[in-house]
Amino acid sequence: MRHRKKFNHLSRTSAHRKAMLSNMASSLILHKRIKTTVAKAKALRMYVEPLINKSKTDNTHSRRIVFSHLQNKEAVSELFREVSEKVANRPGGYTRILKLGNRQGDAAEVCFIELVDFNENMLSDKADGEKKRTRRSRRGGGAKKTTTPATEPTAKAVEAAEETKEDKASDSEEKKEE
């Protein structure tokens, strides 16, 4: 029976699978984009996203928890220094899987898995995500409270989105002037 067998074992023993996911997570954090099979990418997504979430609170405890999963000093410091900064405003969904077709040899489905905030070419996607998020909050807030407090956070969010756009378009000098 397949009951409650929820995750993909990837034809490996538990230790082998953990070691592989740990290495892949470190590689993803250090290189921002790695090429694997779709099955591994989906398993990796479940492995790294909680770690990236942990990086939002920078203290010794969370660093040790993340290190226990990554076993890589460089990856941990990179995660808490560069990645956590870029990822700060994103409510989950830090990775993107881009399917690339089938591999020659074993016809396995290959893909890129990347950190969403480090792909400059698809950055306009980020604004879309934030718009969707604000719309969702407006709906939830509008039902309970009056409409006036609900419009304020959306306006702030739009301003924030514009600021981030400007930051990426030009240098950080503009931000200082503002």
């Binding site: 090429k35 881009l98 399917k99 690339l100 077709g101 591999r103 290959v110 890129f112 792909n119 070419n121 698809m122 306009s124 996607d125």
Partner: protein, 61 residues
């Protein structure tokens, strides 16, 4: 345990396999360059995905 009494003949085997059919993958057109692409994959020709540059040209896989 029950065992097969006879070897399955070639005819019987092949008749069973007449229902094995290859399915056509879902195909679409790249919104950037117009090439035929597999759905939900990055375009092989130009590296665009859903109208945005997703992969630089180096990748041909």
């Amino acid at each position: 345990m029950a065992h097969p009494k006879r070897k399955t003949s070639k005819t019987r085997r092949d008749k069973r396999r007449t229902h094995y059919k290859a399915t056509m993958p879902a195909l679409g057109v790249c919104s950037n360059c117009g090439a035929t692409i597999k759905m939900h994959t990055v375009c092989n020709e130009c590296g665009h995905y859903r109208g945005k540059l997703a992969v630089e040209k180096e990748v041909t896989a």
